[in-house]
Symmetry: D5
């Protein structure tokens, strides 16, 4: 009835776990992975995360964003509940918008060693202006290195309509 | 009055059939095909499937998705009612989102031997995060092999707006 | 006051005609053309046709679609009222969705000998699944032959959101 | 730090529980309640449930709907995870759309004895037609009895736009 | 497993029937009913019908509309597949938009003797103007007679935005 | 096959007529009516007219609007092609927005003697401000007199979102 | 050709005037009126003003809003270009959002002595919160006094969706 | 240049203040008011707050909501920056959705003694279901007591479309 | 205070001019230009023109369209008020949709000698079908000649959704 | 708790500063920068600025736009509050739309020496036509020089739908 056996779920401890601990500050150690069962063909996985919140490092006021994280797995894949807990760990952490997306990307690279990854943050406005940073990465020595550059070069040529309401 | 004669409808047994059997678990044997009458020019067929549901392999809770399946037919084409019954067979079957789209793609490759195919799943969120896996395939030794790679390289540069409501 | 003189309207008999005859079945002979006054530069013409309806060849039940027909004219161009009457002729005609778009494209190629043409059908769902076939064509021996292939290779990388409501 | 103490959470056993059992068929016994801490003023609570699915009692084919459940609590309130499990119990249960919304409403009345409740189901189409049943109830002998009638009399004067896509 | 037993499905012959006959012209005799199992409380059922098509009685050209049919059942309820076949019977029938909605309402009153019913047609434009007729009815001698009048008096105070595209 | 016989189409001369004359200036004489076949029950007919254009009486510059015209017929009903020609007659006519809607309403009252009518104009902006006049009328001595007042009193409590783009 | 003669345009000096003076600060004296030609029936006129801007009285930073101004004219009506200039005069003027809408309403009452008027401001957010003040007025001793109260009592029961983007 | 003098800004200390302190837990003492300069006519003020976040009292996981707060001021009005800080104080505070809206309403009643107030929370889903509580209040002994009841009785008859994406 | 001095505004006579003359028929002589102050870097300017109207050359009935005109300036740029008057001159002029866009493009090429230009017309439907012609041009002997071809080859691969309402 | 230390915030004086001075006219000197902490990988930062307003250099009337500013940082990055104050300085400054976007881009190049930058302005209409200028820049001698040209060549092939409302 289930397509994954116990071995194939190895390393997944947070999913379905009752006693979830919510971290107080930035906690990359919460991230967990499971094995990629389809390594023979490259494919994309995207996480839509509209409930991201952090703090401004200068004023302490809360910031809010929707994050879009897309990657092409190599051997291991990030488990989504552990990703939720990791993102939660920015809740009481202060950093600029531009820094948050870069840090998240680097932590996920360290965790999964993916072929490709990109992180796009769309924050709510402060003083009438909103900021949307975007960074990406392709594994050195693979064709994804060039793809990463091409995707950056062609990034966001149709900005979404924004009216602050 | 009808553009397809009986011979050209050969192999189609579920469409218009009253005594449809709904399978209890994963049932790739339900898939049926009919002949492609326009083999001289490559063209696309897309199925929009907003009523897909499966189970989480760890917790047993139901998952929901809209699937978009697009392919370029070779000699035979999948019949849509048989596709409906096949997708229905995941209703009581447990698998990760990332596994479902890969399995569906592979079953359809085995069935139709298409020139090209892609499967995109857009699931509803759990714990505030939704997951959208996408995989594709181009037939080895044809120009669609390279096209498949190019489409993957250029996949989803404009993620749809998501706010979990 | 009018930019087209009588000669330039030659061949147009349905437009503004009171005694329009609506055909009973598939009637490609209704299609009419007028002359292209701007042959020195290639350009596109698109017809949006949200009122297309045909019948299922197996069950006889009605199908509905929006058709998008785009072409680059050569010497002659299809007149839109005659196109309306031609599309109307599928109203009591039975064919699969995939066949309809191919037949329409071939009839228009035969009529106009265009440099390029494409036909995209977006049908309403049956059994929870909707089907969107797309075919195209570039005139052999012109640069539009390669363009046709490139457009097919890059077709529909952002499927529209569908929820069957 | 928490506004609800242990006593005020009495009766809630599913929320945060790891070993959730998903029922095989219609299971109203899964519903749980907690105490209403604001009984002095009437107020509304609405549940948006876009992941409802049941079976057709004649053909066995799956149906899908978004349910909107709104109520005015009396002394006890339905806990949302138990509501999720209850709605899940229709997954392998066959009933007409019109029957489902009435049954759900009656089960919730029996559970909570609310002052007012309404259930609106918006199902996906079969054969080109979708069905949206709506029922409501106001407690006999209270002012909500008349309100229920007035809300029914003024129900849905602006049907949402629907095109089956 | 099914909430309706055989007796409660009495009178339903089209649903799940393989050899469906599609009528050539206006065919109110195709309508079928089933019993209302919840007669103790009034409630609404709405049918969304975006695939309605008829002919212009003067020119013979096809018209298209979305119909919204809402009613409060008395003892019997219209079965949706038979409603589909009945609406299909306007496909080759000519009548003004204003007449179609009145005829459909009267046929459904004759069939079901409902407490209340309304029919709203939203047609596509001809010559730049689209027409949306709306009629309703409340059973004489019941409170629904007055409600029908009130709903008519308050009809459509917020016309939907229309730009013919 | 047609629900209206020749007698019931009496008075309709423009519909399907080939030699349509387009008037040069304000031409209420172009309006035509046909008989209401459902006089026993009051009902609404709405015309959506997004292609209205007139001139500014002071500067001569063109103005554009979408008009929404809704009425409850008495014995006769306005034919939509004649309405199109009448509205066309404002194309080279100068009047303030507020005057146009009042004039159109009065002409239609004179033509049809309806039980109720309302006209809502939504114009495009000049100098950053757009103007939406609305007028209505209920026949004196009928219940529609009071309804007209109530509809005016409750008019447009939810203005549509406007951003001039 | 024009429906308004010179006398009926009396008092309108800004419309079509080349040498428009843009005021430096709050300038109610810029408002102009013209005569209402339809005094026999009450009707509504709405101004959509999405280009309103003022200053914060404490910090001096600019605020932005869309204003919706609706009124029922008595004998005279505000001319829209003069309204534009008046609203422009808040550009370098500091006041709270709640004060702006009240001041604008009072100035227009003084100018036109309307039967009814309402002003709704929808401002862009500061610190993640946006403010939408709404005020209205019905002429004392007329039926519009009670209507004003009823419209206030029923104001904005469906707040528009806002996400600050 | 500014419409509010120093006296009229009395009591406002947070707006424009550099050294803003962000509270650690529930902090109603942060709320500040200013004087209502238009007490002669009742009017509405609405706050749109799409950046609200709290914690689940049982599991500790973060919840997110858009709050809509509308009120009719009496003598004093809540200042929006102090409201922001107050809402921020729920960031690390645990309470059920239904409790949060009631607590916020009661704190604002205590602060401002308004004639009328309502609070509507629209939370993101957990387990596929989202919860939208709504409470309101009218000052005892004023006409707003009855209005509050009428608004509750007519609350949310058109639930917004939700698909969890 | 102004970034353009008198010399840099040379050639602009219509902007801010009170005695604007509106032409009776096709009037390319109304077009005016001003100097491009940023010739060192190529850039785009787009005009959105949703208020275009012309006449059908065969039937005389009015047509409506939104035009999108985009260009890359060379030494001179078209002034927008003169463009408005030029487009107005099609109001009483008859031409096919396909001819209008080509004529407008050629007139603007003659006027400005731009590096690149494109014109896209989106017309409202007649007989259920709408027509969207698109033409473009790149200056011979510059890199924009090839860009023009590439833009044409990649034109409109995602037709906007159209339903004639 | 904060990811940026004091040194890394060097040069930021406006953010969180109480005594903000709002400039009277064009003030590029207000712009401030901070250091890029991720120089090893190129990435994008976008500012959405829907609250931009300037004056027409010929008539003095106010213009409104949404600006989209995207750049790839080199060593330093523009701080968003200083950007807000800089954009505010156009509030009483007169320039053509086409000039504003070029000036803003040049000022930001001078400030940050970015690898890439683009500025897109979307203005509200005057006389029924709106103008959307777009300019971009890639640093000479880097790969971004060619990317800038490619982005310009592929700019805005899908103009957003505009209807001036
Ligand atoms: Ca918006
Ligand atoms: Ca959303
Ligand atoms: Ca949808
Ligand atoms: Ca839809
Ligand atoms: Ca739709
Ligand atoms: Ca539109
Ligand atoms: Ca908008
Ligand atoms: Ca718009
Ligand atoms: Ca949103
Ligand atoms: Ca928004
Ligand atoms: Ca949706
Ligand atoms: Ca959504
Ligand atoms: Ca639609
Ligand atoms: Ca549409
Ligand atoms: Ca539309
Ligand atoms: Ca629009």
């Amino acid at each position: 009835m289930s397509g994954r056996n116990t071995e194939e779920l190895n390393g997944v401890t947070q999913l379905g776990n009752q006693g979830t601990r919510y971290p107080d500050d930035y906690a990359p150690e919460m991230l967990e992975t499971f094995i990629n069962k389809h390594p023979e063909n490259d494919y994309f996985v995207k996480f839509n995360c509209p409930e991201f919140t952090s703090l401004c490092p200068m004023t302490g006021q809360p910031d809010f964003a929707t994050l879009y994280i897309s990657y092409v797995p190599s051997e291991r894949m990030v488990e989504s509940k552990s990703l939720k807990l990791y993102l939660f760990s920015f809740r009481n952490h202060g950093d600029f918008h531009e820094d948050c997306v870069n840090i998240i990307m680097k932590d996920l690279i360290r965790l999964m060693d993916p072929k490709y990854i990109e992180v796009w943050g769309k924050f709510t406005p402060r003083g009438g202006i909103s900021i949307d940073p975007y960074c990406n990465y392709g594994k050195k020595g693979t064709r994804w290195e060039e793809i990463a550059f091409n995707r950056l070069a062609g990034h966001d040529m149709y900005p979404e309509k924004v009216d602050n309401r």
